[in-house]
């Protein structure tokens, strides 16, 4: 199990009901972590519209998680 800090933004923060949480997870990749969190908490964002970041850098969902990582789930951006 890895200890991961998760950040939620925008519609995902609203859906999850909190801005961040720390979890112990068996997930091997960022994508697996989202699938688990999504199943547990009913997050509905289609994965084709989801971007992810690890330790404040954009990161492909297939990348491996490391213990102590901070992961962010980013719904479609809407600045400007």
């Amino acid at each position: 199990m890895k200890q991961i800090k998760i950040l939620y933004f925008g519609q995902l923060r609203q859906a999850r009901g909190l801005a961040e949480e720390t979890v112990n997870t068996p997930a091997e990749t960022l994508a697996e972590l989202f699938t688990l969190q999504s199943a547990s908490h009913g997050l509905t964002l289609a994965s084709r519209h989801l971007k992810m970041a690890r330790n404040d850098e954009f990161c492909p969902p297939a990348e491996a998680l490391c213990d102590g990582d901070t992961v962010a789930f980013l719904p479609p951006v809407c600045g400007g």
Partner: protein, 143 residues
């Protein structure tokens, strides 16, 4: 050459003044203002939320890329976060250059890239009491 996130009103005059340079002959700026309507609904207010560490990195990357692609003297952008009301300035982009082609093209490139990739989200509050996180993948985009 800087990308700024601000929780207080953007000072256009200070930003513009800082960019003036005697070798620059042209200056182009773009401003995004909060509109009082969105897709037929009356907007009372909105809130911008940013993933600040990554938004700053991505904003600076965009400015560096503009500098690389276009013959510009300098470029700067500032985006509001927090609550705003219609008429307020949400984002400002300024580019100075020796020639106007580069100033226009770089300014357009920067605002397009900001809207496309900088991790900032918009929460709209409507006059009918409803509210939503605006999702451009769900709705035709505006501005």
């Amino acid at each position: 050459m800087d990308f700024i996130l601000s929780a207080v009103p953007i000072d256009v005059y200070a930003l513009r003044h800082r960019m003036m340079a005697p070798e620059a002959g042209g200056f182009c700026s773009f401003e995004g203002w909060v509109r009082n309507h969105h897709q037929g609904r009356s907007v009372n207010a909105l809130a911008y939320e940013a993933y600040a560490p990554l938004a700053l990195k991505e904003g600076r990357r965009i400015l560096r890329e503009a500098q690389r692609r276009f013959a510009i003297t300098s470029a700067c952008a500032e985006h509001r976060i927090g609550h705003l009301i219609p008429g307020e300035l949400a984002v400002w982009v300024g580019v100075s250059a020796a020639h106007r082609d580069a100033a226009f093209d770089a300014c357009r490139f920067i605002i397009d890239a900001i809207k496309d990739t900088v991790p900032i989200w918009k929460h709209e509050f409507y006059s009918d009491g409803t509210q939503t996180w605006v999702d451009p993948t769900q709705t035709p985009s505006a501005t």
